[in-house]
């Protein structure tokens, strides 16, 4: 396929947190608000005068100082984020809106106020206690937490307009981004898609780390380009997989899978588009803030949810993605030392394989891709097993 016009530009934007577009928005006087987790509604950080950036630590291969603080036995993602903060990589942030999505993440966020690594006088950190069920009591608690630890500080510290009208405007802008990304993402449903999983991963990531207003024109242009883009005459991959798991913010990981012959047709992981790029709908008579909270609690697929309905929902969602995106299997990833995904991958792979006859591979990885030999071998074997399964299903050779 012909190279995408903005792909190299997008790739460059992912090389550091304080990228070209973030710098530009900051120079325009906008406040850059950091977050780590889907539990913090991105849309709320994109109210007038602010923009969101989901924290990544690109090229962080050796988080030595963070390891001193948090030991080498905690999640490498959170250590990398802390390391980058200590290195001065997030000095452009005005605030970090944290979430106790897991203990490691919370501890990392605490270090942002204990060590004060962000050299910005205005900078502050708040942490919400995110709910673990999808019912009304949990929704009410979610609202209360976001009101106290996010909306309140935005209004009181930065003077941000948090009125219903302002939220509706933010939703409108946010939905625009979602529509474009979703439209791009749905191209992966085609038998021979005009986009690779890697390219989509890059596009999704830039939409999460860059100011929406500044990245949107590029995304729209890319969508138009993709609509006209001619795919290779034949589908160049040997299999199609859904990638599920925790924090995967390195497109090279997707590239690695694809180089082993499996196209990543759906991205159900933290930093992925499922969830994150569903449009927010406001029900009749509903206020915008409630709509946002309801939306995020409903779509959230985090492995930390405990009630049966949400557990079933996240497995059903995987099944849906496999079906709709015509995937041959699922790759479950978990970050090393991640308690939630360590358990989830055992349970979910059992449910998928034993109860739904969907092939799964489960892997564990570091944050930064270092020695990839083992992973490559695993992926190659998985792709081969998918091929054999297909051949057998077609009547064998």
């Amino acid at each position: 396929m012909k190279d995408l016009k903005h792909l190299i530009f997008f790739e460059n934007l992912l090389q550091e947190a304080h990228n070209e577009l973030v710098q530009k928005a900051c120079e325009e006087g906008k406040r850059c608000l950091g977050y780590n987790c889907y539990y913090i509604p991105e849309v709320l950080l994109n109210l007038d005068g602010c923009f969101s950036t989901r924290l990544r630590a690109p090229r962080c291969t050796s988080p030595d100082v963070a390891t001193y603080y948090m030991t080498g036995r905690t999640c490498p993602y959170v250590r990398s984020i802390l390391e980058r903060a200590i290195e001065g990589g997030y000095n452009h942030l005005s605030a970090l809106f944290g979430s106790e999505s897991c203990a490691a993440m919370e501890r990392m966020e605490e270090h942002f106020y204990l060590l004060r690594p962000v050299k910005n006088d205005d900078f502050f950190v708040t942490i919400i206690d995110p709910p673990m069920k999808g019912d009304k009591t949990s929704l009410d608690y979610y609202k209360v937490q976001l009101q106290k630890h996010l909306m309140g500080p935005l209004k009181n510290v930065f003077g941000v307009d948090t009125s219903d009208e302002a939220l509706r405007r933010a939703i409108e802008r946010f939905n625009k981004v979602c529509r474009v990304i979703t439209e791009i993402g749905e191209l992966r449903k085609l038998d021979n898609p005009p986009i690779t999983g890697y390219e989509f991963h890059v596009i999704q990531l830039v939409s999460e780390v860059c100011p929406h207003e500044l990245i949107l024109p590029y995304l729209e242009e890319t969508l138009a380009e993709l609509k006209k883009r001619k795919p290779d005459p034949e589908f160049p991959f040997r299999a199609r997989v859904v990638l599920a798991g925790s924090e995967i913010d390195d497109p090279e990981f997707t590239k690695l899978i694809e180089m082993c012959g499996a196209m990543v047709v759906a991205d159900r992981y933290c930093f992925g588009s499922m969830p994150s790029r569903e449009e927010i709908e406001i029900a009749d008579g509903e206020d915008a803030f409630t709509a946002i909270c309801r939306h995020y609690l409903h779509w959230n697929q985090c492995a930390r949810f405990m009630d049966g309905l949400k557990i079933d929902q996240r497995h059903d969602e995987l099944k849906r993605l496999v079906k709709e995106y015509k995937a041959d299997g699922i790759i479950y990833e978990n970050m090393k030392f991640c308690e939630f995904w360590s358990y989830e991958k055992v349970l979910a792979s059992h449910i998928m394989i034993e109860e739904n006859d969907i092939p799964c591979a489960t892997i564990e990885k570091e944050y930064a891709l270092g020695s990839v030999g083992q992973l490559r071998t695993r992926f190659q074997a998985f792709v081969e097993s998918l091929e054999i399964k297909k051949i057998n299903a077609e009547g064998g050779v």
């Binding site: 036995r73 942490i127 049966g308 978990n334 358990y343 989830e344």
Partner: protein, 534 residues
Amino acid sequence: MGKLIDFIDDKLKVFDPIWMAENGKGGQRTRYYDRTGVAKWREWRGTKDTLYDYSRWLMNLGAMGLMVAKNPVAVMKGFWEYRWMGSFLGTFMFIDRLFEGYRGWELRVAHMQMFGIVCALTGRIGMTLASDRRLGASDKKANRFIPFDEVIPPLFTTGFPDLVAFPMQTLPEFIICDVDQHIEPYYIDVAESFGLPADVCSRCAAETGVALDDAFPLVGKVLISTNMPCNASEATSMFQRRRVGLPDYAATFAMIHNDEETALPYSSQIMKEMIAFIEEHYDTKWNWKAFFKAAKNMNEQNTYELEKWDYMKTGYTSEVGISETLYKLFEWQATNGTDPRFTKIDRKVMKILRKNYEDRYEPFGGKTRHRAFLWGPSAVYYTDFPTWCQNAWGVAIVLNMDSTMGFNMISTDDPEQAIIDLTRLEQKATMRHMAVGGWDNINAVWEWAHNFNCDMVMMNDNIACKGMLGIHSIMEEQARDLGFHFIFIEHDLEDSRTVSRQNMRDCVNQYMSIVLGEEPLDPTIITFDDSDAY
């Protein structure tokens, strides 16, 4: 009589390990077979104390005999069915280990409290096995039980006086892991054989293993799980609910923040929903009268606990070390106002403690050199670690993190307030208000240590506890700034294969000998192999 006793004591003192250590003739370890933890003979503590220990041994034996006598078939079936039941046979060795070196009042207080635990526990085991569907019990018997996660205070079940509280993990995991260091690795291996990584918390891995190995007693009509106290605990619930297969309610309390405006109302609502869930499934009504009665019990226990703390701050007390910790842990986690026996024990113990203070009684012959606060989740495969610290280096574990849980009072006349108080009790559950739940909870250790006049903080360093690992060096820096002696005790909570008991001892040995330049009280227990011991 007194002279006769003095004469015997004088003649037999050569068998007293403390005398042996003081006189360079051996010590506690001399009387053990290597590796096994099996003593050739029991500790000679002087005539009076040995006879007292013997009498308590008889009483414990009697309590266990009673358990078998009451439900002989069920208990035998239990031994046959459940691997964890076999580990309960190690109880006598466990008690001996815990109270090694104990003499005088500390021995008496320790045994009085331990007898309460033994009676309550044997009663619970007998009743559970006799009601276990797997062992042939009828639905009628089994359905009286409310299985719930061990981190929810059992006090809430007292509102259902016709039902039986069953903290589900207590028997196969939570208590037995203290008794036998080899039992939980079996269940951990079961969990890991399904692909669970080895770096998750070993306690939760063991719970998962018990579920997958189908080793939970089958009782009750519902399952109450909870998000307390940590991520791995939340995650293991997924397996338990699937394997147990009963209608379940996830009691997801506020994990961080304890504030009155957000966290408390939310958690109170969860508490109410949990109660309503039980009402619905058991077709019964919450009984406030019964609840308030138990709450009074709980309040009395907590009143005593707070008074105990006052004495413990001075050092003139026989409520010490692991004896105090285990009692408090059991009283909170398994009893929690539901058993009046514990209030009676408390009353007796309080009389002794008050007298101890008046007499300025110093435990362990006044040989304590350092007063330490033990923080962080302790290694359950080395429950007698505080006893070892005292005997080896004269380091008294004044208070353990677990002892600081759930000490608030419960309203005994106002239903709305009682629910809020019950929720506060949950917010002060094991680990919840110490090891997780936000920085302030952990940072509180310095104030605790300061208030209890400690010069040392021992920080349990569970190598798989993500919450505690996340603030590792901040704690070390704080200790340095505040002038506390500070020792990380590395361990793997329930898996002694990863970090052995000796590895744990070495953490202390190195600090005491290299940093403080001190000599051990008993050189025979500095380095020894107890890897095959229960």
